[in-house]
Structure formats: structure tokens, C-alpha cells
């Protein structure tokens, strides 16, 4: 009986991939466990083994096709003497050109709600600057490459940043361009290499430390806090530490409690650190370049789910975005929604839905959590008189809590409703798909919170 071979999910967050190469052709006999194709995800190119035995009856997706959705039938296996005619016809629409458009589509969808409504152009680059579309991943890579070209003391170290090309492909190609002296693969030894990197920063280098995810930075937390953040103060200003700690932060998808945690509020509590968590690719690039040039330790928090999202990025040889300057993505009059990183996705989606119900939301991306641009938030709240904050982290001691208290202290008379903080739930992240969804903040949470503060 003919069996459909489906496009596999090869990582927790993979939704689609490229069928890079077929290792078999129609008519070949395939054994179980045999490598039949190479599939490229947004993280790596991986070999795909057949789980079944049979004869390749028909190849449904041509080599080189990108944007192939997980669970799409890519090949039909038949038994000896059986015909593949009963199988579905090759998916003609999944041609290379068509799939490129398919890849670009979600990107446009992400940018669309904001682009349509933002009236004040971003002041981060001159009006009329040519733009190009790129993913957050590419933007981060470009930021590092540009800074490494500009300053020979900038170097990258971490687990799998070199030969493996980065666990999430952020450092892809950097080893080839800059060599093993400047792109340093470390053993799995977070505390040790973080301490070494801090010492190297004191010794005159500008290290970028990649944590595969910030969950693993807990192993190194003593050096981040006690060695990197405090020494300039304890030395009376003699020993600044120009270092960037970067990597994925927050929930990915279905990786359980130890690998799904947003540490933004933790790091934002520490004097001596600067804390950045960008949403768009342009911010990822401009803020990472700024972080690498900063003479202080910078915690640069990325989000795995955002890595593959595309945005418009200024096509400039060099641009940076200053810390402590929020971006207003969407102007509005009825309520202020403040967020950062992936929370912006929910905030902007909610603003779209609310607009249809006649509620005009102003959406602010904080971009940096230390320093925080209080002025932009307060000015907005003084205009809208209502505020909802959105983040993925735990509710106790959240960024939202801090903003709520700041707004209460500095704009109490302007408030028409209590500030509502939308956060992740107060539970370790569950694995089960339905429970995980329940634990995370959602667009619906934001819509409900806005309606509540608007008494609607």
C-alpha cells in the first residue's frame, strides 16, 4: 500500500523548511533508516531518514523548494508492483518561485498593522532611507559582522558559535570571515567561559558572549551580576566591563519549564547592567550594534520565535539605535499598550482587533528595559488615561508591575482606570500543547485587558 512521506518538523519551532536535496530518485528501493533527503530549517540543514521501507513511487516536492509546510506530503513510497498513480499529483504550486512568495507573506503580515497606522516616522534613521527586508536572525548576524569588521577587539564566544554555525544560525558564516581567533567555540561550561569573557573585557577586548539560551546563563549568573555588573562601581570607576551577553530568552515552543523562561525583569533589576530586548529586525540590528559599542555589560535578550520573522531594515552602511528610547508603533487616543519583544506581536494584533470595535490603542515598544523610557510611556498615559502592559514573563515583580507603580506615582491624576499587567501565568511552563498555550500571554488577554480598562 502506498505511503505518503511527510515534511518533518526538525526543531521545536519549525513550521516550514526547504527541501534542499533528494538523496533518492523515483524507482529507488528505500530501506527504513536510509537517508532520503536533506532538509534545511531556519537553524540548520539536516538529514531526513525514511521511517518506512518501499520503492520511491513519486517525488512530490522538487529539490530546492523552500517554504514547504510541516506535514506536507513530499514523497510517495509504494510496494513492489504497486503503482503510484493513486497518490496525489505533484504539488505544482509548491514551485520555487511560488514558495518564496509564501515565505515573504507572513513577514508582510507582521509589519502590516503597524505600517498602516504609524504616523510619526521612526526618528532612528533619516526619512527616505532605502529599506530592505530581512529576518531578525539576519539582522543580528549583520550587526555582529559589521562591528567585528569595524573593531578588531570585538570577538564572539559561546557554545557552537563557530563550526556548527550557531545553534540558531545567528553566527552563520562568521567563523569563515573572522577565523577561530575571533569566533571561539567553547566547551559546555557556562560559568567558566562567562568568567573568562568578563576577564577578557577587563583586559581590553569587547567580547560578545552567546548563550545558547538564557536558561543556561543561570549557570553563569554570578559572573554576570557579581563580576560584570558591579566591578565598575566597586573599583571607583576604574574597571568598566564592555561585554554583550546575548541569546534566546523566553518561551520557544514545547520545550518545557527548564527551557522556557523570560528573564527580562530579573536582569532589569540589576544596577550596572543594561538590558535590551528588541522586537523588530531593524531594532535588533541597531540595538545590537549599540550594545557592542557600549562600555558596560549589556544583556541582549532575543526571542527564538522572532528569529525567522521579517521586517523592513534601513539599508545603511552603519546605524545604531540609542538605549532608553521607546518606539511608538501605533498612535492612539483611548488606551496605551506598552510591551517589548514578542509581546509586541500580541499588542499590535490586539490594537488591530480593538480598532474594529472603535477603540484606538497607542502601542509602545520599550525596546530597552534598563534604561526604560519612562517619559514616552508617561506622556502617552497622560493622553490616553489608560494603560495595559504586555510581557511573557512571570507576573510577580514583572516589568509591568514596575511600570504600573511608576505610572501611579508620576501620573496618578491622569488615570481613569487601574493599570492592568498582562503576563505569562504564575506557573512553570508545561509541556502539553494545550497547557502551554494557556500559560502564555495571548492577544485575547490583551484585548480583554484593554476592554476592562476602557470599561467596555
Amino acid at each position: 500500500m502506498a505511503v505518503d512521506v511527510l515534511m518533518p518538523a526538525l526543531s521545536p519551532t519549525m513550521e516550514e523548511g526547504t527541501l534542499a536535496k533528494w538523496m533518492v530518485k523515483e524507482g529507488d528501493v528505500v530501506k527504513s533508516g536510509q537517508i532520503i533527503a536533506e532538509i534545511e530549517t531556519d537553524k540548520a540543514t539536516m538529514e531526513f531518514e525514511s521511517a518506512d521501507e518501499g520503492i520511491v513511487g513519486r517525488i512530490l516536492v522538487a529539490e530546492g523548494t523552500s517554504g514547504v509546510k510541516v506535514n506536507t506530503a513530499i514523497m510517495v513510497l509504494v510496494e513492489a508492483g504497486e503503482s503510484a498513480d493513486a497518490a496525489p499529483a505533484p504539488v505544482a504550486t509548491v514551485a520555487v518561485a511560488a514558495s518564496v512568495a509564501a515565505v515573504a507573506a507572513p513577514a508582510a503580515a507582521v509589519a502590516a498593522p503597524a505600517a498602516a497606522v504609524v504616523s510619526k516616522a521612526s526618528a532612528d534613521w533619516p526619512e527616505g532611507t532605502p529599506m530592505k527586508t530581512m529576518t531578525v536572525r539576519e539582522a543580528l548576524r549583520e550587526a555582529m559582522a559589521e562591528e567585528m569588521r569595524a573593531n578588531p577587539n570585538v570577538m564572539l564566544m559561546g557554545e557552537e558559535v563557530g563550526e556548527y554555525q550557531g545553534a540558531y544560525k545567528i553566527s552563520q558564516g562568521l567563523l569563515a570571515e573572522f577565523g577561530a581567533k575571533r569566533v571561539v567555540d567553547t566547551p559546555i561550561t557556562e560559568m567558566g567561559f562567562t568568567g573568562i569573557a568578563v576577564g577578557a573585557a577587563w583586559g581590553g577586548l569587547n567580547p560578545i558572549v552567546e548563550f545558547m539560551t538564557f536558561n543556561f546563563a543561570l549557570q553563569a549568573i554570578d559572573h554576570i551580576l557579581n563580576s560584570a555588573a558591579k566591578t565598575n562601581y566597586m573599583s571607583g570607576g576604574q574597571l568598566g566591563c564592555p561585554i554583550v551577553f546575548r541569546g534566546a530568552n523566553g518561551a520557544a515552543a514545547r520545550v518545557g519549564a527548564q527551557h522556557s523562561q523570560d528573564f527580562t525583569a530579573w536582569y532589569a533589576a540589576i544596577p550596572g547592567l543594561k538590558v535590551v530586548m528588541p522586537y523588530s529586525a531593524a531594532d535588533a540590528k541597531g540595538l545590537l550594534k549599540q550594545a557592542i559599542r557600549d562600555p558596560n555589560p549589556v544583556i541582549f535578550l532575543e526571542n527564538e520565535i522572532m528569529y525567522g520573522q521579517s521586517f523592513e531594515v534601513p539599508d545603511l552602511p552603519d546605524f545604531t539605535i540609542p538605549f532608553g528610547k521607546a518606539r511608538i508603533w501605533r498612535e492612539g487616543t483611548d488606551v496605551t499598550i506598552v510591551s517589548f519583544s514578542i509581546g509586541m506581536k500580541y499588542a499590535l494584533e490586539a490594537a488591530d482587533l480593538l480598532a474594529k470595535e472603535g477603540i484606538s490603542a497607542e502601542v509602545i515598544d520599550l525596546r530597552t528595559l534598563r534604561p526604560i523610557d519612562y517619559d514616552t510611556v508617561l506622556a502617552s498615559v497622560q493622553k490616553t488615561n489608560r494603560c495595559v502592559t504586555v510581557e511573557e514573563g512571570f507576573p510577580v515583580g514583572s516589568i509591568g508591575d514596575h511600570l504600573a507603580s511608576t505610572i501611579m506615582q508620576r501620573a496618578f491624576d491622569y488615570l481613569d482606570a487601574p493599570v492592568i499587567t498582562c503576563t505569562g501565568k504564575d506557573v512553570p511552563m508545561p509541556y502539553a500543547a494545550n497547557l502551554e498555550k494557556l500559560a502564555l500571554v495571548t492577544t485575547a488577554d490583551v484585548v480583554a485587558a484593554v476592554k476592562s480598562v476602557c470599561y467596555r
Binding site: I196, W202, G203, S227, N232, M234, S235, Q238, L239
Partner: protein, 329 residues
Amino acid sequence: MAAKKAPEKSNVSKEELLKFYREMLLIRRFEEKAGQLYGMGLIGGFCHLYIGQEAVVVGLEACTKEGDKRITSYRDHGHMLACGMEANGVMAELTGRSGGYSKGKGGSMHMFSREKHFYGGHGIVGAQVPLGAGLAFADKYKGNDNVTFTYFGDGAANQGQVYETYNMAELWALPVIFVIENNHYAMGTSQARSTKSETLFGRGLAYGIPGEQVDGMDVLAVKEAGAKAVAHCRAGKGPYILEMMTYRYRGHSMSDPAKYRTREEVEKMKSEKDAIEHVRDLLLSAGLCSDEELKAIDKSIKDVVNASAEFAKASPEPALAELWTDIYA
């Protein structure tokens, strides 16, 4: 004094012996004065004295050249004086005054001097080990032949990050000398009560790092071993471990109950192994100098230390605005 050593190192000059004598004596008198000021309430918090271990830093500093770096734990006063930092600035930091090396904001455990390449002064046991390897990483990256002396105690030797650092230091051939100051007690826990390892330097062999045990009470033996380790590092052969067998006469900190060792044990070390007496004997028994000359040195050291105490008392407290400075570079 029992079991005096013979002046066996005839190739050591009078000048060098006098230099060692002066430097070790400065540390001892300084620490005695610090203990006194602590008792008077002029120094607060934790204060860990280096008395007894002076030969280690003085002997190793004799092997350094300009640009070499050093980093250590919270028992750091001796290291600072040995690398040329001013007694005034160290003492004023102990009293929390603006004239201190950290403007009064660091205290006993957190002092630094970029100028003298002294990178602290670290209060978290063992943290200085990867930090020191990182300083060496920067030197290797820049292509110079400087070395970093990374000091830690027998207590810190049980921290996991020490071995993470050994692994990478050897893997990347970093020019770092790991100096284990084995004074036999991690606070109040003797080495025998914390490990079955017979030697601490021997643990480095598992990572491919050569090392040796050294009589850390003999400044000449320290210097000789240090020179060997420095040559190894400067030649690009990677790290080296020196396990300095030494002894701290005073408590772990100023609030040590001293219940974990006998008074006899301490007295025996003082009378038989004292590093300063050793050099004094070498000078006198070989007829290199007179008792009067040494007494003159003693007085000049006492003057320096007394002056530092006066400076540390007279230096003003930091301005209140200093609370908000130096958080960011």
C-alpha cells in the same frame, strides 16, 4: 629560634634579600595596623589579614615585568602592596574614605588598580579564577607575552569553575599562572576535611597542566618556582600551577573563633617557618648586614604604615553624590 635555615642560596644578592625583607615586613606591619584599626571600629565589615603568607606574593612579584597582571580573592592587601600600590590608598579604602583605591566604595575585598595591573580583590570564592584566565585570554589575543598571576586558596580549589577554567586554559594555551595559596584551612575546614586529594596542584594534571608544590614560606623557593612558571607561560606553552604551601597566622577574618586548630600548631609555624625571620637570618648569618641596618629598615616601614593609618583616618568620607557615580562606565 628553632630549626633555622642555613644561608644556602649564596647567589642571592644582599640587595635582593633586603628588598624581600622590606616588602614582606611592609605587608606584615600593614596588616597588624589594619587589625588594630579594625579593633578601633575604623574598619568595618570583613577584613582578612595576610599575615604569615607574605613570602608568596613577594617572591612571585620578583618574577614579573611591566604589563603582567594579577588577580586574587578577598585576602588581597598583601597582593596590592607587593605589586606597588600605595599603602595610603589601600588603608584609606579599608576605612571607607575617598582617598581609597575605590574611593571608599569597594572596601577590603574589592580594590583595583588599572595602573598597577591589579584586577582585584574578589569576594566570591573562586570567581577570580576564570576572570584571571580571561585577562590572559586578552593578552594572548593581543599577541603580547604578558602573564597573569591568578591567586586562589585551598578552599577555592574545590569550586567547579576552577576546573572549567583549567580545561579551557590548557585547551587555548592561555598564559596564566594558577597560584594556589594553600594555607591548609578554608575558613575553619582543614584540607583533610574537605578533600581526599593529596595535592591540589595534582588535579591540574588531569587537564594536562604542569605544576608543583612549593615551600611558600621560603621567598627564595617561591621566586625560583615562579621564574620557571613564568618562562613556561611566556614561551606560549600555556598555564602552570604553583601550589604554595603556606600558613595564615591570624584567623580567617577578624571574627574567627580559632577553634579548628591548636595554638601550638600556629606557634610552631611562627617559630620554625616564619618567612620574614628566614630572610633576616640569611642576612645576618652571612654577615650581609648588621642588626642596626635591619632596625633602620624596621623603623622606616613602621613610619610608612603609621603614615598610612593617619592618612586613612584623615581622608574624608566619600561625598554623598558618590552614591550615584560609577554605576556605568
